[in-house]
Amino acid sequence: MSETTLGGIAGRMPKFLRRADPAVATAFACIVILLLLGSLYSRSFLSPEYLLQQLKVASFLGVIATGMMLVILLGQIDLSVPWSVATGAMMACAAAAYGHAGVVLAIPFGILCGVAIGIVNGFGVAYLRIPSMIITLATNAVAQGLMVVYTGGFSPQDSATAAMRYLATGSTIPGVPNGVIIWALIGAAMVFVLTRTSFGRAVYGIGNRERAAYLSGIDTRRIVMIAFAVSGGLSAFGGVLLAGYASKAAQSMGDAYLLPSIAAVVLGGTSILGGRGSYLGTVAGVILITLLQSILSVMQMPEAGRQIIYGVVIVAMLLLYGRAPASR
């Protein structure tokens, strides 16, 4: 009866529509609406150049949000993003000052510093059982302290290497920026890991109920630790790309990426409680946030207004589809 009719209607829809998560669909619908609103304001919003430019800007956030998503899928959160980004950028630029070997090792060294921050986070969460929100805030403060001591409180003078600039601003395939290619590669790897490997299944399992995952023989603590290390590494890589884009590192370059990365993941339908969400949603969330930022800056909205609209939009969208079930 009602179930069969529902099944009948759904059965006639194309397969990808039937399987689509309502949250992901909403996020994509919002992207389309934003683009249409933007095109009312200015014709160039629908031009390929503008859209590619937006994808390029989105790729930095995309890389960072990928790590954030892995951690959120576990039901944890990584608030050390701001200074993981800055540490990655600063350390990569700093390594570049040490001769030829330094230039070659700049990018791996920057990422490694991020991984180190992530390992401290992961150790605290997985083995010491400290709430992730707290330990990541603490490592963020420590990373900030280390960088302040290292730079003397000023923006460092070292500049990015040619390789970093090429990764962020060049284009190997004509017309497609390298940043977008990197994001696509990282995204593809993430989709593979999440859907085709036991690690990915374990991540979803831990996010749903860590106790059950542990009882079914998963070394949950190792998985949590690895996830945090990956998140730290990806944040730092995002920082390396940003440093390449601006050709140097800056003190508070990571501050602008904490809220957007969490928002992108959550707006993409990933449950903040963990265990549920798809990478496609995160892609939608990242593009949505980047477009929102871009439209606000094209409209020459001052920083204050941007922050307000931003916060309001995130709360409003979460109220639309990110609510927890009522306690009954």
């Binding site: 001591v149 106790r211 542990y214 916060g311």
Partner: protein, 326 residues
Amino acid sequence: MKDWRYLMAEQRGTLLALGIFIVMFIIYTTNHPAGFTANVVQTAANKGVLLAFVAMAQTLVVITAGIDLSVGMILLLTNCLASWLVVGTPFETTLGVIAVLLAGLVCGAINGAIVIYGRLQPIVATIATGAVYYGIGLLLRPFPGGSVNEDLADALTGKLFDVIPTSLVALLVVVLVVWVPFSRSVFGRAAYAAGSSETAAYMSGVPIRRGKFFAYMLAGLLASIGGLFLTFFTYTGEAAYASGNAYTLFSIAAVVLGGVSLFGGKGSAIGAIFGALAFRTIGDLLFVFDFDPLWQPLFQGVILLIAVSLGAFALFRVRNRLEWFL
């Protein structure tokens, strides 16, 4: 005898924080070039009280097993607002103070409404509302500036009878007027119950929603009192993103040092106050030992890291490995 033991067990965190604070303060004053004088105490009190207000605000929310990452931004917003409103004749100043406190109350109520009635996760919700509050603060004060009624400011940051710092007295008054009635009311108990086990509290008919809502609202109020005092100390309003974030971070550190459980249902604002005072004193230890101020952020970060890692000792008491996973 038995009552006494229960009371000790209940207040263990608070007493530990008090102990840490006293030890740190003795180290601080004995190494301070001026020694233990009324002026040294006044300066230390003025710096500590600011954080103490924010830590109290954080405690109220943490007790309900939530977290408020917007307290620092409410502090900034009310600081900017106070630099416009708390000026002029005594009557205008009074109205200004009331308006600033109301603004804090409204910010807290918005947080509470979104978290409780909107059923969003406190972390994400308060980061987002924090961005809004920061934006409004920046709208009010795009550049640092403004002024404040200096008579009131001097009165509240000076010394009473040339000995007792007035800010400490103000802190005591706020504790007696806000914290004590709240923690003894039905709503306060509901906040504790919701933090300790929301399902059990719901089943026993405790008004958890109203209790949590009150906790968030009063947290906004306490943060706005902090914002008022910040204006009294600096005479200006400034919307600096980094300083708002620092206050949020330090409030969490103070709460942890003060023996308030981040899982909710345990601890008191009194403990958080001593935690805040202890954290400030530890941060200032660097100055009396003549270190480069550049090391202060790292030093504070390491203290925070150690403080939060101390909670890991509870793992030794765990008999069943499954209790690792809450």
